[in-house]
């Protein structure tokens, strides 16, 4: 990977810990505006905003030795840096108000400029039925060539990226650097995505994730997606940031509807109340994106028992204990049918031996 001169300098400055975006942007503009005397200008600027020692550190990072080391380190780790000057830099992000200066990438960088993208996020606590709807949606979208953009947390994010993994159309945006995958338990999944899809981060690899990085990261998710689906979230969920960013960027926001009183769905209902699109069918998203759904050959063959139970569940009978009581049958007589429906992805089991239909 060869970088332009200004890109190399940017990578060096960016690799420093704790430099604010506005300062980096200013340094860059100085490079741009005064190519010949940039060093003096930068020093002047740095001394005006930082202490002398910090300014010195930053100046040192602009020496050729350090720059070379930074670039070499990235190469060694197999990380490809896409800077704002690169031709690979996604157009979608250029249009947001604080475009990330560098995207550290691992995987298929061509996904950054995919024709169609879609962001799907939610909270870590996602009810089983929302989870399986999300799985269904993201599977269908990614199979039809839409690149799914999401985070890396457990819960909804994990569902979104893991179900899109098979098709390889997936971008997972990390909050911290790539050496510090968070949460640890998703490490193997994220590594698979780095192989088959793409993981990106605004932070250089050695930076550990910190609280403030997560909302900042969400602007990249919102910016990269052509639309955003909020699958779940409580009132204070971080998914709200993603939704707000998306609205600011003029993207369509979709949200799953929830019953009143379910805490993990408060955010979605609130968004719908304020104008987000109620999303209960994956076709809503396909229409918005203008993409044709890839045809799947799926034969659904239900026997008599299965059909009866599916109809009961689809008509709102969730509690199977009650169903047994009312129809005077033993649970073990319907257990096979329930499992079979579940395996075919038509229903999903909730805690408390309740079942919900999943729309096909």
């Amino acid at each position: 990977m060869t970088y332009l001169d200004i890109e190399r300098k940017l990578l060096a400055v960016n690799s420093l810990d704790g430099l604010e975006y506005k300062h980096e942007a200013k340094i860059l503009s100085l490079f741009n505006d005064y190519p010949l005397e940039s060093k003096d200008k930068i020093k002047q600027y740095l001394l005006s905003v930082f202490s002398e020692s910090k300014a010195k550190t930053i100046m040192l990072s602009l020496q050729e030795g350090y720059i070379q080391k930074t670039v070499n380190d990235l190469e060694k780790q197999g990380v490809c840096a896409v800077t704002i000057y690169s031709k690979n830099y996604p157009e979608r992000l250029k249009n947001i108000d604080t475009p990330p200066l560098v995207l550290y990438c691992k995987g298929k960088i061509e996904l950054l400029n995919a024709k169609k993208t879609f962001a799907a996020v939610g909270s870590r606590k996602t009810l089983a039925y929302a989870d399986s709807l999300l799985k269904d949606f993201t599977e269908k979208l990614s199979k039809s060539g839409v690149v799914i953009v999401s985070g890396s947390a457990t819960g909804a994010d994990k569902t979104a990226i893991s179900s899109a993994l098979a098709s390889g159309n997936v971008i997972s945006v990390l909050a911290g650097g790539m050496d510090h995958i968070y949460p640890e338990c998703n490490k193997s999944l994220i590594e698979k995505i780095a192989k088959n899809g793409l993981i990106i981060s605004e932070q250089p690899p050695h930076i550990a994730p910190q609280f403030w990085m997560f909302p900042v990261r969400n602007r990249i998710i919102a910016g990269l997606g052509d639309g955003v689906l909020i699958a779940s979230g409580s009132k204070t969920s971080g998914a709200r940031h993603t939704a707000d960013f998306a609205l600011n960027y003029g993207k369509q926001v979709f949200a799953f509807p929830y019953s009143v009183g379910i805490s993990s769905g408060e955010l979605c209902n609130d968004l719908i109340k304020h104008g987000a699109t109620l999303c209960d069918d994956v076709m809503d998203i396909f229409e918005e994106l203008g993409v044709q759904m890839a045809k799947e050959e799926e034969i659904i063959d239900l026997d008599e028992d299965e059909l009866k139970i599916y109809q009961a569940i689809a008509s709102g009978q969730e509690d199977m204990t009650k169903y047994c009581l009312e129809n005077n049958i033993k649970f073990f007589e319907i257990a096979p049918a329930l499992s079979s429906l579940e395996i075919q992805g038509l229903i999903v089991k909730l805690p408390g031996n309740k079942y919900k239909p999943v729309k096909k």
Partner: protein
């Protein structure tokens, strides 16, 4: 004068005859016990002296030496009191002519000469019978327990004088041997007919008991997990007399038998508190006594709120679950105790108990939930075939007057399923489906190629973990047995799949 009477001591569950020899000679009065007595035996000096005096007899003023042979084995407890006193009286008093060489004497003395109950009477009687002794003299309070040993004469005495009179030739009616009768329905303290609703959990319990599977119940606080667990003994297969004897022997050794019943008729239900130590659970202390896992032998070990137990304690259970026996080794020797129990555990889905609930909000963080579940290790979970969710019962269900199926009916089905398994595994050296290893799984759990496809698909669709495979197969085998089916059919497999709660190992 010299006299000798045989008594018994216990090593683990094995009885060991002890010859109590008394020698009386002239000299400065003293009373010594030699032959490795422990504190309780040494103290018997005072009890013996007072008991003899208070029974209206004179205590010899002489040099008294009591030897407990064999001298190299540590003697424990107060069982030897009566033998020492009788031997002493026999050495001084005339008229005790009944031969004593085929008689065993057990009993603790009270200061007034009454004979008190002792521990371990049943295993001692069994051992005495095997060693060829003809008569056992036991405390009256232990009569029930000993009466189930056939083929040896049992004489129950309530005080020292009665025992002396017996040796003087007075006619005493021996205890009439009893035969074991299965407990009546009323004797089970819990019955499934009092548990309202919970069909799924009840069915899962039936399967678990039929196949000898361990079971984990996951559910919110107050869902009724403990109540269900307490019913397990009432649906477990009828106890055979051998099982009764084996269980009673262990309970007898630790002295936890009820004097009224005398034996353990109903399968034990042992529920250790989560602060129980490893020694309490596994067994130990200086004398290498059996622990709670052995007390649960042939019954149920119930771990309520399993993640609250220290990990080190839980990991101790792996070996007894696998082998059905536990070896307790201490400085004074090691003892083997049987520990074939059904493990039943319960837990909340998360520390606050509301995870996954639709209406109540779970206040636990992601990492809290993960940590909570991680307290139970994967290898231990692998040994728990059934993991089910127990849901809250609604008020309407609680007050409904519908009659529920009584435990008796369930037990009948369980008995049949167990019989099928016994016949199938006759040559494999195992007894239940839960004990099947890879070899038996291959042999008895063949799926048709169509079902194999379905099984494979279910793993992808339901995100099951790979280690769940053999668990589901074993459960499917039991369901097929309950259905009298030779082959595991599609419906059995599908039902087995439906009894998974969230996969605790998922993350």
């Amino acid at each position: 004068m010299l006299s000798k009477i045989t008594s018994y001591t216990l090593q683990g569950l094995e009885g060991l005859p002890v010859d109590v020899e008394v020698d009386i000679s002239r000299g400065m009065p003293k009373f010594d016990i030699v032959g490795l007595p422990d504190t309780a035996v040494k103290e018997s000096k005072e009890r013996v002296r007072a008991a003899i005096k208070n029974s209206g007899k004179s205590f010899p003023v002489a040099v008294i030496t009591v030897n407990l042979a064999p001298a190299d084995i540590k003697k424990e407890g107060s069982k030897l009191d009566l033998a020492i006193a009788l031997s002493l009286i026999r050495a001084t008093e005339a008229g005790m002519e009944v031969p004593v060489d085929k008689t065993v004497v057990l009993g603790e003395l009270s200061l007034d000469g009454a004979v008190r109950s002792v521990t371990g009477v049943l295993p001692i009687c069994l051992s005495a019978k095997a060693m060829g002794y003809k008569t056992v003299i036991i405390p009256k309070a232990n009569e029930e327990e000993a009466s189930y040993v056939d083929g040896i004469e049992i004489i129950a005495v309530s005080n020292l004088n009665e025992a002396v009179n017996y040796f003087k030739g007075e006619k005493v009616t021996p205890t009439i041997p009893k035969t074991f009768v299965a407990p009546k329905e009323e004797e089970y303290r819990n019955d499934l007919k009092y548990v309202k609703g919970q069909f799924i959990a009840k069915r899962a319990l039936e399967i678990a008991v039929s196949g000898g599977h361990n079971i984990l119940m996951v559910g919110a606080p107050g869902a009724g997990k403990t109540m269900l667990a307490k019913c397990i003994p009432s649906i477990m297969p009828d106890m055979t007399f051998d099982e009764v004897l084996e269980t009673t022997a262990i309970h007898s050794v630790v002295g936890s038998l009820s004097t009224q019943d005398g034996i353990v008729k109903i399968r034990p239900f042992i529920c250790p508190h989560h602060t129980a130590t490893r020694v309490a659970l596994i067994g130990g202390s200086g004398n290498a006594l059996p622990g709670l896992v052995s007390l649960a032998n042939n019954g149920v070990l119930f771990l309520d709120e399993m993640p609250e137990y220290p990990r080190s304690v839980l990991e101790c259970l792996r070996q007894p679950i696998e082998d059905g026996v536990i070896t307790v080794s201490r400085a004074k020797g090691s003892n083997n105790y049987p520990a074939r129990f059904m493990l039943c555990a319960s837990m909340n889905p998360c520390p606050c108990g509301n995870y996954g609930s639709e209406n109540a909000e779970c206040k636990c963080s992601d990492s809290q939930i993960r940590k909570y579940r991680a307290r139970i290790s994967g290898p231990l979970l692998d040994r728990i075939d059934l993991q089910i969710h127990v849901d809250n019962v609604k008020y309407d269900d609680l007050v409904s007057t519908d009659t529920e199926e009584p435990s008796k009916n369930v037990r009948q089905r369980v008995n049949i399923a167990r019989k099928i398994q016994r016949e199938r595994f006759r040559e494999d050296g195992i007894r239940t489906n839960a004990e099947m290893g890879e070899r038996e799984l291959k042999k008895y759990c063949q799926l048709s190629s169509e079902d194999e496809q379905l099984f494979k698909k279910s793993f992808e669709a339901l995100r099951l973990s790979a280690r769940g495979r053999s668990r589901i197969l074993k459960v499917a085998r039991t369901i097929a047995d309950l259905d009298y089916s030779e082959q595991i059919q599609k419906k059995h497999l599908l039902e087995a799949i439906s009894y998974r709660s969230f996969d605790v190992t998922e993350q």
